[in-house]
């Protein structure tokens, strides 16, 4: 049974049909890429999956349960985490605090404990701190843990977002354009990191990306969206040569041109 499946997903923004009858399914351990021209509806699909928008039609299933139109925090607690196309870090907080906020599983004490700080409190906080710094080390960000998150370079901020998503212990990770704004070597690092965390943590990953190099290298399977509909699906090689995909990105050849 698929880990995650989307059936006939449809969503409108006013009169515009952003997503149209989308069907998608992911097996456990898969790494699937989601590509398409700008405005194809990819981030909207993410927003629908994570509960930020409620779909007009369709069903979303995760681990056998219907998660359509649930609230974002409930969906996260079930094991789906995401990053954002426009970075949404907590800029007022330090880097390690960004992770701590997400690391819900490590700190489970209640409100009464937080009001009175009994002896066990700081022990828990210390363990949380250690866990968060270890996670930051995986992403190479532990050296600056106490600095404000807004002081990081752009590429590092993107990595921090992924680290933060990982702190919620997801089984399905949605990455929205993680390589945006990265140069070649940064992108290569990113590919390594993605492969590494996938193997280490046993993740299933769905990536939106425009950087073809990254997506071709990292995905096992690619789904192509245009105007909210799937126009192609297959292995990276299939997609590379698929005429419909080429047309969507580059346009059709003009028979009248010289």
């Amino acid at each position: 049974m698929a880990l995650f499946a989307v059936h006939d997903l449809t969503h409108f923004f006013g009169g515009l049909r952003a997503v149209s009858g989308l069907n998608l399914s992911l097996e456990k351990g898969e790494l699937v890429g989601l590509i398409g021209p700008n405005g194809a509806g990819k981030t909207t699909v993410f927003n629908l999956i994570t509960g930020i928008y409620k779909p007009a039609k369709g069903r979303i299933e995760f681990l056998g349960r219907d998660i359509t139109a649930r609230s974002p925090h409930a969906i996260n607690r079930m094991g789906i985490a995401r990053t954002f196309q426009n970075i949404r870090l907590f800029h007022d907080m330090s880097i390690v605090d960004n992770i701590k906020v997400a690391a819900r599983h490590e700190a489970t004490y209640g409100i009464v404990t937080s009001l009175f700080h009994p002896p066990g409190f700081w022990k828990t906080e210390h363990e949380l701190d250690v866990y968060c710094r270890e996670l930051l080390a995986v992403f190479g960000l532990d050296k600056k843990a106490g600095d404000r998150s807004s002081s990081l370079a752009y590429g590092q901020q993107r990595r921090l977002e992924i680290a933060r998503a990982m702190a919620t212990r997801p089984s399905l990770l949605l990455l929205d354009e993680p390589a945006a704004g990265m140069n070649q070597s940064e992108a290569a690092d990113l590919i390594d990191t993605i492969r590494r965390i996938k193997d280490t943590f046993g993740l299933t990953i769905l990536i939106i990306e425009h950087n073809m190099h990254v997506i071709m290298k990292v995905s096992q399977r690619i789904v192509v969206l245009d105007f909210g509909e799937t126009i192609a699906e297959g292995s990276p090689d299939d997609i590379r040569t698929n005429p419909k995909v080429i047309e969507a990105y580059l346009g059709k050849e003009d028979p009248n041109a010289a």
Binding site: F13, T43, N47, I52, Y53, F84
Partner: protein, 396 residues
């Protein structure tokens, strides 16, 4: 048999009368609510100080009417304050001219030493202040003498329209000045800061106007502009329609018609709608966003000022400069009820608020505000976007 029919008639007559009273109050709220919704639509800010412009309108009307009735001398302090506001707008506009900006930009020249920069900065601001004072010395007396002249004429039936025009202009000036001084610098910052500032401006206006050289906090009895008479009586029911009621309705209708024409049929109205929709896109299309926002802050407060005149006429007394608090809150609830950002919604909401307030007051005079609060809670629980509102979806 006859007795029961009589009671039934009296009951329905009572209800109709209350509805009529509610519509009268509602017209007043409608004008304030329109201002709230216009400003919120354009810069997504609840202008808490809007209710205080309403108050200023009521007081200005009071002073003008008292003067022309011969009851008290024309207030000089008022002209100073309004003259100052006009002077501020003039001086700001002049200082924004490119030529002046070029001269002043010497401070940005990095080759000038720090000392010279500081001195120049001080000089700039001193110059600005001097200009402000000088222009006020011109505008304040000009305003004083011209207003005194106009209002000592025997205007007859023209008096009321002249009063409305004058109050609208004064309130528009205050609105534009308010936006420029308090809200414009905060446009790029967090919305919460603007809200807090709006609260500060409201508090400031209320207390400043309570000072003795402004309006003072004494109770003011509004002289009767028009003797309240019944114009019509519905035959059979015990319902009276007063001339005051008619005036409220006519003023509202006229202003609504003008507003509708402005927003729907003129270019500037279209620009307003564009800015309300998407500010950045509008500025990229060549619309001067600052001008449009200033314009909105002229129209909204102007309407509130007229509502102030109606308030003074309807109630006959001005309690204190804090009188804007409750009508302002009710008008804002009306705007939310109708759908914030929607002009017809604001009017509909205002009528609903007016009618429910009148009915609640007839049960117990303390219940008027409770009714407003209950309506607010109900609408926020059931349909937060309001009757005619559209739900905004945040782009993620």
């Amino acid at each position: 048999m006859a007795g029961t029919t009589g009671m039934h008639e009296a009951m329905s007559g009572y209800i109709v009368q209350q509805v009529i009273n509610g519509i009268q109050i509602g017209s007043m709220y409608a004008l304030i609510a329109l201002g709230y919704t216009l400003v919120y639509g354009i810069i997504k800010l609840i202008n808490f100080a809007h209710a205080d412009i309403f108050m200023v309108g009521a007081y200005v009307a009071f002073f003008l009417v008292s003067f022309s009735a011969g009851a008290s001398p024309f207030p000089f302090q008022l002209s100073i304050l309004i003259g100052l506001a006009i002077a501020y707008l003039i001086v700001s506009a002049v200082f924004e001219r490119p030529f002046i900006q070029q001269v002043l930009s010497k401070t940005r020249d990095t080759s000038v030493s720090a000392h010279k920069k500081a001195a120049f900065y001080v000089f700039q601001n001193a110059l600005w202040l001097c200009c402000l004072v000088m222009v006020t010395c011109v505008t304040a007396p000009a305003l004083f003498f011209s207003s005194r002249f106009v209002f000592s004429l025997r205007l007859g039936p023209l008096f009321f329209p002249v009063l409305i025009a004058y109050v609208m202009t004064v309130c528009a000036v205050i609105g534009i000045a308010m936006e420029r001084i308090a809200y414009r610098p905060l446009r790029k910052k967090r919305r919460l800061s603007a809200l807090i500032t709006a609260l500060g401006v409201s508090y400031f206006l209320e207390n400043f106007c309570s000072l003795d050289f402004a309006f003072g906090s004494a109770y003011r009895a509004f002289p009767e502009l028009i003797t309240k008479t019944d114009i019509a009586r519905v035959p059979g029911l015990d319902v009276a329609i007063t001339n005051i009621f008619v005036i409220n309705i006519v003023v509202l209708a006229a202003l609504l018609a003008l507003l509708w024409f402005l927003v729907e049929k003129t270019l500037i109205g279209k620009q307003m709608r564009a800015v309300a929709c998407n500010r950045d896109a509008a500025s990229l299309m060549g619309i001067d966003v600052n001008r449009i926002i200033s314009f909105t802050f002229a129209i909204g407060p102007a309407l509130a000022g007229v509502s102030g005149i109606l308030y003074a006429m309807n109630y006959g007394v001005l309690q204190s400069p804090f009188l804007g608090f409750f009508p302002g809150m009710k008008a804002f609830i009306a705007a939310v009820l109708g759908g914030i950002g929607s002009l017809p919604g604001a009017v509909i909401g205002a009528f609903i608020m007016g009618i429910s307030e009148v009915f609640a007051n007839s049960i117990d005079s303390n219940l008027g505000f409770a009714a407003a609060f209950i309506i607010l809670i109900v609408i926020l629980l059931v349909k937060p976007t309001g009757i005619l509102g559209k739900s905004e979806q945040e782009k993620v």
